[in-house]
Symmetry: C2
Subunit: 407 residues, 2 copies
C-alpha cells in the first residue's frame, strides 16, 4: 500500500490512513506500506537548502530530503500502535533498498528484503520511507520524481506481493481527464502497456518509471482513492483471455513545445547529429517526425518539454556550422492528444476515425505519431479540451460497451 | 567542534558556524563537527508526535527525532561547500556510533570510526548528526538529554582528537552564574572532577554524562562561545603540576525538593528499603542525609527533583505497612548552593568559612552534603541569590589570585 503526501498531510489524515492500513491487516493480509513526505515538507526542506546555497550538493540534498518520508513513517507507526497493531518503520536503507550512486535521481539496483520479511513474519505492519535508498557506497540516495511509487512497486516485486495498491487523491484511471470530460468513466482494468502509454502521454495518476518497473517485474497495480473505499483501476499483464479495448482512454498534455528544423539535407546521420546535440544538453526529446523528402532536403520536427525549448534551440544553433539547414522554427503553443488501446493493433481504422473526428471539429493536426497501441496528434494547445471531448464521444468511451473488442 | 541548536537556528547562523569550522580547517586541523537540531525543530517534531499519540512508541520517537540533526548536518555541509571546502554529513549510524537498544536514552557502546577517518584522510570536513546512533539490533536510537555533547566527546575519544570544543551561547564556565553575581569570572581551567561537580550541582553549561565520558576517556574539553572568538574554559585531567583552586566556583540549583522521613527505626537496611522503593519508581535521589540516632530512631532526609516529589511521597506511603516511621514531611521551597574546588581536599576550614559566611547573612542551613572537592548546602530557595553573592565575595572568586593554592 502506497500513500502520497496529500494522504498524510496532517494528524487526522495520518489517522485515517492508519485505519485503512489496519483494516487491510485485520482482513488477514500481511501489509507493507510506503509513505511519502507530508504535504509541504519536501518543499520546505528544498527552500531551507536554497536559503543556504544556490546549488546545493546532491549528496547533501538527499541526506536532507530523505528525512521527510522518515517523519511520515514514524508518525504512521505511532498511529497504528494506537490502533493496537504492531508496526515498525524503516528507512530506505533499513529496508534494504540498494541503489546506484546517482544522487537525487538514483536507480534501484537490488532490494535485500530479509529485514522486512522478518518483521512481517513477526506479525508487524511494515512501514517504509518512500523515495529513498542507500547507494553502493553507503550514502543516502533519493529516487527523484515518482520515487515513492517506484519504492512501492519495487518492494511489491521483491516481496512477491499479491498486489501493489497505489492510494491517491483520485479514484482510479479514467477514460479522460474528468475536469475536461464530465462523462469520463473510471477504467476497471488496464494492461501495463496501456498504462505506460497513458503515463507517457500525460496521465499524471502514476509515475511512468513505476509503471515500467511494474511491467518489467509483472507487478499488479491497483490505483485507488485514499479517502473512499471503492475499487479503483487494476493494472496488470496482458493475457490472451483478457478482452482488449479498442480504445481504453484519452490522455493529453500541454507542457511541450514543437521545434522544426527545415531544409535539412536528407542523408544518413543528420537526425542523429541533432538528437545527439540535444541529448548532450540533457534535453529529452519526445515525438520525432521526419517529413518525406523533396529534392534531397527534408524537414525534421520534434517535441521537447516546454521548459527546455530555449535550451534546445541553443543546442541546434551550435550545429549551424557543421550541419546545413535552411531554418529553425519553434511553436510553444502546441498540445498533444493521445488515444490508447491494447486492441488497437488488431483493429484498423482507428486512426482514420480519430482524424475524421478532429477534422469535423475543424481542428488542424500538426504532427502524428503512433505505436501499436497508441495514436498521438499534435494540435493547437487551445483546442485540447475540444478534441478530448469530441474523441471521448466519437469512441463512445462513456459506455462500458466500448471496451468490448468485437465492436 | 560541537554546535548546539541555537548556533544553527537559521541560515545566517549556519553560515556563521560554517565560517568558524572553515577557519579551523584552514588553520591546518582536521575537523569533525557535531551539529544539533535547529532551534525549535525537535520541539516541533515532538509536538507532531503528540498530535498523533499520547504515548508514542520509543523506537518510532527515535526514528522521528533523529531527523532534526540530519537536517542541520546536511545544511551545514552545503554552507561549507559554498566556502570552497569538501564536507560530508553522516548520520549517527553512518558515523559508526553503536549504542544499546534503550530507545530515547541509548548509551554508546562503541564507535566504528573507519568511515569518518577515511573522509578525514580524503581532506573532507566531517559533519556528524548529534544525539543519535544505531543500536545493536540495527534500529535508529537517540541518546537523550545532552546527547549531542556526548556524541562530540565520544567521537573525540574514538578519533583521539587533540581537543573537543563545545560551542555554546556562553563564553565559558564562570565562578558563579553571572546573572546572579555580576562579578563572576570566567574560569580559564577546570579539572574533569570539578566540572563534574559543577554540572551535578546545577551548572547547565555541559551535560553531566558528557563530562563523565570525557573524564573516563581523558578527553580535553574547551567550552567556548559560538559567536565570539575569545578563549573559553579548558576542562582537562588533573595533573600534579596544575595549581589547584581551593574554591573554583559556585553552582546552585532550585529545581529540587526535600523529603524527611522522621522516626525511622535506626537499623540496617531501612535506608536501603526506602531508596529501593524510590528507584523502582524511577526517581533519582540526589542528596541523602541520615541524622544522628536518638533512642534507636532517626530521621532520613533526601532531595529529589521537584517534578518527582509527588511520586516519591507516593512510593514512601506504599512502604507504610512493612516499614514503621513516625511521619513524612516535604519541602518544595528548597534550594542548593555548592562550592567546588579541586584544592579543597588539601585545605581544611573551607566548610567552616562557608557556614560562617552564610550565618553572617542570617541564612539557615537545612542540610549539608560534601565530597572531597565539593560542599553543598540546602537552604531556603528565596535565599539562593544572596548566598551565591556572599560566598563569591567571601572566597574572593572575582580575583584571579583566588585560584592560587597557597592562599
Amino acid at each position: 500500500m502506497k500513500f502520497g503526501g496529500t494522504s498524510v498531510a496532517d494528524a487526522d489524515k495520518i489517522r485515517n490512513v492508519a485505519r485503512r492500513i489496519a483494516g487491510a491487516r485485520e482482513s488477514g493480509d500481511n501489509v507493507v506500506a510506503v509513505v511519502s513526505a507530508r504535504g509541504k515538507t519536501t518543499d520546505q526542506l528544498v527552500a531551507a537548502a536554497r536559503e543556504i546555497s544556490e546549488r546545493p550538493d546532491p549528496r547533501e540534498m538527499d541526506m536532507l530530503l530523505s528525512t521527510g518520508e522518515r517523519i511520515s513513517c514514524a508518525l504512521m507507526a505511532m498511529a497504528l500502535h494506537d490502533l493496537g497493531h504492531g508496526a515498525e518503520s524503516f528507512t530506505g536503507s533499513q529496508a534494504g533498498i540498494l541503489t546506484d550512486t546517482a544522487h537525487t535521481r538514483a536507480k534501484i539496483l537490488d532490494i535485500k528484503a530479509d529485514r522486512l520479511r522478518a518483521a512481517l513474519d513477526a506479525g508487524s505492519i511494515v512501514l517504509v520511507a518512500g523515495f529513498q535508498g542507500v547507494s553502493t557506497d553507503r550514502n543516502v540516495t533519493t529516487l527523484g520524481r515518482g520515487g515513492s511509487d517506484t519504492t512501492a512497486v519495487a518492494l511489491a516485486a521483491a516481496l512477491d506481493a499479491d498486489v501493489c495498491e497505489i492510494y491517491t487523491d483520485v479514484t482510479g484511471v479514467f477514460t479522460a481527464d474528468p475536469r475536461i470530460e464530465p462523462g469520463a468513466r473510471k477504467l476497471p482494468l488496464l494492461t501495463h502497456e496501456e498504462m505506460l502509454e497513458m503515463a507517457a502521454s500525460g496521465s499524471r495518476v502514476l509515475a511512468l518509471r513505476s509503471v515500467e518497473f511494474a511491467r518489467n517485474h509483472g507487478v499488479e497495480l491497483h490505483v485507488r482513492s485514499s479517502f473512499r473505499e471503492e475499487e479503483g483501476t487494476i493494472i496488470t499483464q496482458e493475457t490472451t483471455a483478457m478482452e482488449k479495448a479498442i480504445v481504453s482512454g484519452i490522455a493529453h498534455r500541454s507542457d511541450e513545445a514543437k521545434i522544426t528544423v527545415s531544409g535539412v539535407r536528407d542523408q544518413p546521420g543528420v537526425a542523429a547529429e541533432i538528437m545527439t546535440a540535444l541529448a548532450d544538453s540533457g534535453i529529452n526529446v519526445d515525438t520525432i517526425i521526419q517529413n518525406v523528402s523533396a529534392d534531397g532536403v527534408t524537414d525534421l520536427s520534434m517535441t521537447v518539454p516546454l521548459d527546455d525549448l530555449q535550451g534546445a534551440l541553443g543546442a541546434i544553433d551550435q550545429l549551424a556550422g557543421q550541419l546545413d539547414y535552411q531554418g529553425v522554427s519553434a511553436d510553444d503553443q502546441i498540445g498533444k492528444v493521445t488515444l490508447v488501446g491494447a486492441g488497437m493493433k488488431s483493429n484498423p481504422g482507428i486512426a482514420a476515425k480519430m482524424f475524421r473526428t478532429l477534422a469535423a471539429e475543424g481542428i488542424n493536426i500538426q504532427m502524428i505519431d503512433t505505436s501499436t497501441i497508441r495514436i498521438t496528434v499534435v494540435i493547437d494547445r487551445r483546442e485540447i479540451e475540444r478534441a478530448v471531448r469530441a474523441l471521448h464521444d466519437a469512441f463512445d468511451l462513456a459506455s462500458e460497451a466500448a471496451r468490448r473488442a468485437d465492436v
